[in-house]
Symmetry: D3
């Protein structure tokens, strides 16, 4: 098997995490998984949504968008079409659940964190890049909040990262780019913690159904790639 990208089956794309990418947000990261580039910002606001009022805990929610020409063909701008599409809602719900898993919300105080993941260039894996990058931006934002004295303790429970795996020409491969994703028979997105637990597993057969053995192989490959991602996050945070 030869991947279109020429990578080994278990090889991630070159990954770069640039912190403090824009100046206003409490946390701001440009994350690159190869040619996929996403700006992840974390914005803190005092207060919580109505359903959490008076419970002394915080909240985290996420939104996702793509610039209209981040893709090969221009996509209509969701703001001008007047609604977010199903794929967008699905991805931002996934990002929100994943990032909430990193936190102990009771230590966040009555604050709301908004994660915004905006894709400026898409080449496959925008949701996994978003989760991986937003985790770093989240840690930066928590440091800012701590300095401001608005935290009750350290809300960070664990690191979170995400990666896709797929079956390409019968072989499990890691971190699919757009070309590989389009040709893959199966696409599996995995979100994990640095302690080795699964947060989310979402697999879809694009063509033929996948066999239990293939699912297992993909899950193992994802777990392996995840170790590298956590190291890359730690390295970025150490800068």
């Amino acid at each position: 098997m030869n991947r279109p990208s020429g990578r080994a089956a278990d090889q991630l794309r070159p990954i770069r995490i640039t912190r403090h990418y824009t100046k206003h947000a409490e946390g701001s990261v440009l994350v690159e998984f190869g040619d996929t580039k996403v700006i992840c910002t974390v914005s803190a606001e005092a207060g919580v949504p109505r359903f959490l009022k008076g419970q002394g805990q915080g909240w985290l929610t996420a939104e996702y968008g793509m610039l209209p020409r981040s893709t090969g063909e221009r996509n209509a701008r969701e703001a001008s079409r007047g609604k977010q599409g199903g794929r967008t809602l699905e991805i931002q719900r996934l990002i929100g659940r994943s990032l909430r898993a990193a936190l102990d919300l009771t230590k966040l105080g009555e604050n709301t964190l908004y994660i915004d993941c905006d894709v400026i260039q898409a080449d496959g894996g925008t949701r996994t890049a978003s989760i991986t990058g937003a985790t770093v931006a989240l840690i930066d934002a928590l440091a800012v909040l701590k300095k401001r004295g608005s935290l009750k303790g350290n809300p960070l429970k664990q690191m979170v990262a995400a990666v896709s795996v797929g079956i390409y020409q019968g072989v499990p491969v890691l971190d699919l780019d757009y070309l590989e994703d389009s040709a893959a028979e199966t696409d599996l997105n995995v979100v994990m913690t640095d302690a080795g637990g699964f947060i989310e597993v979402q697999g879809t057969a694009e063509g033929e159904p996948f066999r239990p053995a293939e699912l297992n192989a993909m899950l193992e490959l994802a777990q392996q790639g995840m170790q590298e991602l956590f190291e890359l996050q730690r390295a970025a945070l150490a800068d």
Copy 2:
């Protein structure tokens, strides 16, 4: 471990599939997974969406809704709020992908099938009941289309069914009802074909992340329950 429902860990709820439930649709099924009740209709219309015009193949798309008081607390009607929520869109996209996996669309002719899954009473597992019931309604609809002479061959490739599994008090359990789902640590929805392949695997950690071993145990339990579901579908179709 005692499940709130008193069922064994690997026991499905009582499942009923009532065909020809309403009179206008090409296929119409009331599916009941215990107290969860969903009306699944299949409507055939000549023609295909623009992106498929002239390719000589058909299309299948799905929509999902809940009656406002199908749930314990009334939910605002999506039609009057002016948009479908993220959960709704996510579920109807899942139903559409799953049912398309049952078909060879090139044998459908230039027809579009609309799957409508409307929950009239919710008690957990509405999406898995929807997929399981809609498959039966789909087969009924194909029979109607065949009689009308609008098919090119037999588009049915395989049967499709779905079930949820979870970790309840540390033990993997099959087909969670609402009470169990609310208390479960993990929720995994699995869509499979009767040939034993996976169409979709969607697992979410509600509280603690789940371990690889737990994931494996849940996947095995799902595969086992799936056999019963296919038998129930076949029995309903044999009536």
Copy 3:
């Protein structure tokens, strides 16, 4: 004159009122006027809309919907089109006004009752079936509220029911089904109380205008049919 349904001019369709049809709502009825089937639920919530705050009285409001394939041709789902159509709004306003006429809102306490009428199969007369069925569900809901101790007295002032009448081939006929309605020259919907008063009278000439004498004949026929409807409601409530 031979009605397509073979019924006598003053004959209602077989009418069935099934109480406790779904389990969550305070009141829940499946009402059938022949092949027309509507689920009517009544949901009670503490509190009133802003314009009634602090006046010590309650409120009742209604919503109406049709499942997309409740009709001969599939209708686009209003939730996915992003708005309720004019016909829907007109009908739900009619249901709301009619059901409010059954109540003394000052005895309801500061509670809001939501009537949801969802058509699962349509064959003419969905609005009159909705009003007739929702009245029974309302009475069930009031009994639940009374048990909970949230009422100030008995808010029920009177029973309400509704029926359609029309001119078919020059002859006034009662309770039109879809075929008859499509062929009728005039369609008149009448909502009355069991004390013999009119709540609503809505007549529309479909083709030729109708004469005063025809209007009188239709009104008399409606009043006559109404007696049967009140008996059917009472019988259902006596079960």
Copy 4:
């Protein structure tokens, strides 16, 4: 009984119909029922909606709006709220049905007529004023279309007018203004043809249900007032 307006029970408000009120529309009328003032325009466009294509007939549709401060309290502008309310849709559907009853659409050619009724000052009876005024604007527009040679014959079948009647302090009264309407027990809107047929009858009990005898008395009063309205329309057209 003393009406707040000081009028006799069977007395219309002063009614004025000003033709050619604005310059662009094919028909343009300012209609005044006392202090109620509505601009009614008729716009002709070549072509028909999709559901009528190729049938060689025309179409007529209506829209209704109120300027935000046409009323005692300012109402939010529907264009900025992003949707038309239920009352608006109900009224514009009524206007459309009523005006279509004036026409033989097969003689209109493949043209669409848009009726726009915009209330610039409201004091009760805006829908009946709209229908009465729009009929005159329609006749003017047909004359313009005839000159342009775009008609197949004379599409005008009959004149149409509308008036409200009510029960005020137990007495049937004609053409209620806002104060009277607010205090009336019953409100009945009647649309008729100049040949004495009913197009629409819409009666609503505001407080107590109304008796059959009251309904009859109101209908008679409406028929009587209608004669004056047709004379006023004819006089305006004769100018």
Copy 5:
């Protein structure tokens, strides 16, 4: 150069300002710039938007609309299309900014003034007519509020008026009507105070860019026409 209207280059259209045009609003003016006719109402409501709460000052906001057939071709009604277009929003923001410039909002008390400018006939210059007419309606409304005792002082700082200028066949001309506007190379809208200051200057090259000298000539012409407009406003207020 011969203007289509036959006017001199520096000649305004006949301008009429009719106060108390409708009866409900605190201020209500019909303003006519030739065939352009706009109803301007001012509605006062107690309270201010959230962002101004507790600051002891008032607010003024504006909305603009066109009746569907105020123009040569019918425009779709914004309320039924479900949103206001970009041009509408642009104009109503301009009207709001301009009218706020007339006021010292700290003397308005915690009141909100809604300016509604509704075009009933359009022939060019609807935004400048709106601003000029709304200023008169605003002064009438302030007098009403003063009588009611809801003002802290006199909020009126200065009069405001607006006019368009353009380059038609190479010559700067004042107050363009629709025909002239369509043929003009440049269109400049100017809002000024009666003390000779500019509030807004908005110039757009329709075809060729305009030269600095042309801009100066247009600005001078606008200033000159503005003197007449202030006199016309004062004359209307003196009636």
Copy 6:
């Protein structure tokens, strides 16, 4: 006078124009006016909007957006609010008109160019940066289209650039950043061609009205700054 930025009154911020910033679009530029950063892409699609069909010419349209946390406080995402705000529509209409002025649309062939300006960091002057950067992206896109053979000639008529000027503490200053803009008495945006003509002039008094002499001084300052902008564009294109 000391500008908060420490710049001379006639000094632009450091301006950077990075071409080929993202890989999919026909033209893609990151433009920076100091800390204001905007991604400008140009996307070409075959075909034109309906109103231009069959006229053998092309079209250009623009859209504008801000990432939610491009600003000091997070702004709600327009896609999730379901509509673009008035400011957004105003700016994108301005960008569209300005860029169309650069082109001879008859030489574009039946192609549509979409300009997307997305602000990733805002610090004042986002609309002027957008126009200045999009012009460079447009020229790159035309080169791509020429290579593809889809142009009829060279559609570029002239270069276009934009800059803001204002009155800060009584002194006219060039290219205001956010702090200066917030404190300025007047804000004037100017769009010009490299041949020295004005495309747009939009001035707004934020506090006190501005005098004719101030307007002239600002216009001169803008013209002067514009020369530098055209040189920067040319330098970027020469790379």
